[in-house]
């Protein structure tokens, strides 16, 4: 059976790299052969765990048996890594975002769109079974014609201060997921965007020039509306919900609970909390996106790639611009 597996490599052995390496090792259609990281000593335990060999990028690119590469390196090298792998004819699974700079992304457009090797950009939420079921219900006409969306995306706790600046800011790092989900569910590209944002969670985030609490309103050409709610710290776990309002009803994807236990007392009922960590909440999505990568390696078209990355980043930049100017932005 092992011979039929696609031989792949992975760049990056950090937090997301660990998730993907474990996922790839567990996937029956993938064989993770190489692990590449600028700090091999830090990557060694993961390489050992998943049965991959530590290597450098050149070795990976020169190995003709390697058909695909997972790019889970730091964000600032995603695009360079992706281009190098595509040039070598490797299919690429790139962790989001493909890049934080729209101009750089546009500069790579000709090469990426002309590449024979496919590119999958891993916006994980599209692969979440709850959101997939929501989209399927909408597609099946369960709520009539889709009219508006509410997307709640609240982190449990703010990231380390050192992460704030390299992250590209709330909109490019965090809201970008919701902007992609909005386009995916609305099946229409927003033409108008307004964002209001504040620094309410941690003053240091504000000192670094970022915001931690935001609301974004999108409008499409046909008049569909979408609201996105973001905070870097919910105080109640990783709050991930979508409500889709249609002409004949609403479809809601709620938070899963850690367990189904409810405790009732004189003061009322207490449910178990919602998940705190994104890796646990989206564990199925991470598995499903690797499955999709195996499909792509087998010849299926990539469901999400360069165009979607550009679109989401364009909207994220528009949101930041709206906050700076205090005006709505036309796209």
């Amino acid at each position: 059976m092992a011979a039929s597996r696609f031989k792949i490599a992975q760049l990056g052995a950090g937090r997301m790299g660990t998730v993907h390496a474990r996922g790839a090792a567990a996937n029956p259609r993938l064989r993770l052969a190489y692990l590449v990281d600028p700090r091999p000593e830090a990557a060694a335990p993961l390489a050992k765990e998943v049965g991959a060999k530590l290597a450098d990028l050149d070795t990976v690119l020169a190995d003709p048996e390697v058909v695909g590469v997972i790019v889970a390196s730091s964000t600032d090298v995603h695009l360079d890594n992706t281009l190098a792998c595509l040039r070598a004819g490797k299919a690429v699974f790139c962790e989001k975002p493909l890049d934080l700079d729209l101009a750089r992304l546009q500069a790579a457009k000709a090469e990426i769109t002309a590449s024979a090797a496919p590119l999958l950009v891993a916006f994980n939420r599209r692969f979440d079974p709850h959101y997939l079921a929501l989209k399927a219900r909408i597609g099946a006409g369960a709520i009539g014609r889709l009219e508006s969306l509410n997307i709640i995306n609240h982190d449990p706790a703010p990231p380390a201060h050192a992460f704030i600046v390299p992250s590209g800011g709330l909109f490019k790092d965090f809201t970008i997921h919701d902007l992609d989900l909005a386009c995916w569910l609305l099946e229409e590209t927003p033409v108008e965007l307004f964002a209001a944002a504040s620094c309410l969670v941690d003053p240091v985030i504000g000192e670094k020039g970022d915001v931690d609490t935001a609301r974004v309103v999108l409008k499409t050409a046909s008049g569909q509306l979408c609201m996105i709610s973001n905070t870097r710290r919910s105080g109640c776990g990783y709050d991930q919900r979508i409500e889709a309002f249609g002409s004949q009803g609403v479809a809601m994807a709620d938070n899963p609970r850690l367990d189904t236990v409810q405790v009732w007392g004189e003061a009322g009922a207490v449910s178990s909390p919602i998940p705190r960590d994104f890796i646990g909440r989206y564990a199925q999505a991470y598995r499903a996106e690797l499955d999709h990568f195996a499909d792509v390696l087998a010849g299926a078209p990539s469901q999400i790639g360069f165009a979607e990355s550009v679109r989401a980043l364009t909207l994220a930049e528009a949101a930041a611009e709206s906050v700076r100017s205090g005006r709505s932005v036309r796209l």
């Binding site: 009219e147 209001a196 999108l218 509306l225 109640c236 009803g249 205090g326």
Partner: protein, 326 residues
């Protein structure tokens, strides 16, 4: 017992009349309505007498007046009733025109005018506010108010309603002010006509998302639709520094039906007369307290003007596509 008069025997007037008639401290003495048959029917039901406005206001034994007449008469009747020394319970909105509403400031500011923003009296929303005040979720940072009607009103109503923001969203603007505890300084609204093209032809919108921001940076989003397709969707989520407080919809029953395809819950309580039944009753309780001198109006003229100002700002923002600063 306090003798009171009711102006307006329409849909909402009938609710208030029934609650007033059932209240141990109130006697509904008079019903006033230009539609004689409506006034008569309600008077018979509640044991009141049909009369005209002048007689009701001229009766020194009448301590309070409920104004549930058509919106265009609210402000005029409120002024006259306050001038006659009556305590007033006036249905929302105070008026549809901000400049006109503001012109009554001298007479109505600080008066015994209680404005019927019923949602403030809903037990669930009161419990939500109490949890916020007790610090259950730390410092309030943002709000999400969902307010979707089950089905659109007739276009004849749309034309006189003052539009989505002044007629419907005005409730949510009041809830936002009440819960935020701070005045919004910025309003942005994005709105569409998606439900019924006739509403658009009448110059109104039927679907809207409105974003409010306060001076300290608190954010609030209001979601409105004239037609939900699934009942009267009335929910609030309040996000604080240490958690979230959520008031969910009330269902017709707690019955859930489970089968191979999943679970089905009962539908939401139908429209405002059912969903806010308790709130209407508690409003009358509050009015009785005001009459007894045990309370001053918890929501009054200034709140009506502030909500109307937000509604006008939202309408302006939706038309221009620009943020409106207040």
């Amino acid at each position: 017992m306090f003798k009171i008069a009711l102006f307006g025997a329409g849909r909402i007037g009938r609710i208030h009349a029934a609650n007033a008639a059932a209240h141990p401290a109130l006697t509904l003495a008079y019903v006033v309505d230009p539609v004689a048959a409506a006034a008569r029917a309600l008077a018979v039901e509640t044991g009141a007498r049909v009369t005209d406005l002048e007689t009701a206001l001229g009766d020194a034994s009448v301590a309070g007046v409920i104004i549930a007449s058509s919106t265009d008469t609210h402000l005029d009747y409120a002024r006259r009733a306050v001038a006659a020394g009556k305590a007033v319970f006036c249905e929302k909105p105070i008026d549809q025109d901000l400049a006109r509403a503001r012109s009554a400031a001298i007479e109505l500011s600080g008066s015994r005018l209680f404005l019927g923003f019923n949602r403030r009296f809903d037990p669930s929303f009161q419990a939500l506010k109490a949890r916020l005040s007790s610090g259950a979720v730390g410092r309030l940072e943002s709000l999400q108010i969902t307010s979707h009607d089950p089905a659109p009103p007739p276009v004849s109503y749309i034309k006189v309603s003052g539009g989505l923001f002044k007629d419907m969203a005005i409730h949510d603007f009041d809830m936002a002010r009440w819960l935020l505890g701070e005045e919004p300084v910025e309003v942005f609204a994005s709105a569409s006509c998606l439900v019924d093209p006739k509403i658009g032809a009448a110059g109104d919108v039927d679907t809207a998302k409105t974003l409010l921001r306060t001076a300290s940076g608190k954010l609030c989003v209001i979601s409105n639709s004239r037609r939900s397709g699934y009942g009267y969707d009335q929910r609030i989520e309040a996000f604080g520094s240490e958690g979230m407080v959520k008031a969910d919809n009330m269902l017709e029953s707690t019955v859930q039906t489970w089968n191979e395809t999943g679970a089905a819950a009962d539908r939401f309580q139908n429209f405002f007369l059912d969903r806010y039944r308790d709130a209407y009753r508690l409003e009358i309780d509050h009015f009785a307290e005001i009459l007894a001198g045990q309370a001053v109006p918890s929501v009054g003229y200034a709140d009506g003007v502030a909500a109307l100002a937000l509604a006008e700002a939202a309408g302006l923002s939706a038309r221009t596509g620009q943020v409106v600063k207040l």
